[in-house]
Amino acid sequence: MYYIDPHIHMVSRTTDDYETLAKMGCVAMSEPAFWAGFDRGSVESFRDYFRQLTEFEPKRAAQYGIQHFTWLCINAKEAENVELSREVIAMIPEFLDRPNVLGIGEIGLNKNTRNEATIFLEHVELAVKFEQQILIHTPHLEDKYQGTRMILDMLCDNSNIDRSRVLVDHVEEHTVRHVLDEGFWAGMTLYPVTKCTPQRAADIVEMCGPERLMVNSAGDWGPSKPTAVPDFILEMRRRGHAESLIRRIVYDNPLTFFRQSRSFNYQPPVWDEPAEV
């Protein structure tokens, strides 16, 4: 089954991973800008990072038939440096017309602080001003519930936001319904220890249905598994779910969401077309 990984950090992965993902059916992916594991010191670091996301990674992915898309921002972990964050936000428009840029992301909260909320709101204003889609990171562990509710408050306060163009990521059992009930898209991240396992993600599909729901690996430089989406596919099959349902979550839903971005120039695999009889 062909699938799309809507959230994966390939700058942290090897070229071997691209090959493995291609062999497992990955045909497209989107890579949000995120934290490098250390706080970057200047706006020029981000300019170089955005060049990597918009120039180098699409070429690396294309070698294996994978289409690479991206999202730009300064991550919430670096938002405590408000001055640098504002410099980065001011620089982002330089890259918004690049052919693989889908929007602003992954913005969000980390420890749910005032500075994080301030920079989140300024990112949202940027997205609204340039009519960009938004991809949102929700916090980890004990901060997730509070942070997700705060993010939803900020989004719902802004009537200029089209909720169908916003993906709220890393949802789990206690946050998924809040996100879906407000009309946003929701992403479940499949991690070995934190966030969702493939089994719990399948449970959430059974409890909430497939509407506006996706799964992703969020593979990065930490403990994560870039092939987690195929693990989810296998779990759904083992439970006896229909192929059409599985495909909706791992392929059709990401397509529907991403197609709202004017930069999403996706070319379906040629072998996906109906065979002539």
Partner: protein
């Protein structure tokens, strides 16, 4: 939408895995008791014991309730506490 699997099939498939997880938890609690020092008053231990109680009750949505148990509380007044005013009133 529900699971297409019969409850018996779920139990058949997951019994050993569930047994192993319960055993790991039991062994972790034993390990804590054998270790030097005392963490009886550590709030994390209290949360773990509350979570174990959630697993044992007869109500559904155990995973969601365990998640909320381990979550910081949300208050709707957070924006005024941060002195952040909504851009546009709802």
């Amino acid at each position: 939408m529900s699971s297409p699997m019969h409850a018996r099939a779920v139990l058949d498939r997951e019994f050993l895995e569930m047994r192993a997880k319960v055993l790991e938890l039991a062994a972790s609690l034993d390990r804590l008791e054998r270790a030097a020092g005392d963490v009886v008053d550590d709030p994390r231990l209290k949360l773990l014991r509350q979570a174990i109680e959630v697993l044992s009750d007869d109500r559904d949505e155990r995973a969601e309730r365990v998640q909320l148990l381990f979550s910081r509380p949300y208050t709707a007044e957070w924006q005024s506490q941060f002195n952040l005013t909504p851009r546009q009133p709802r």
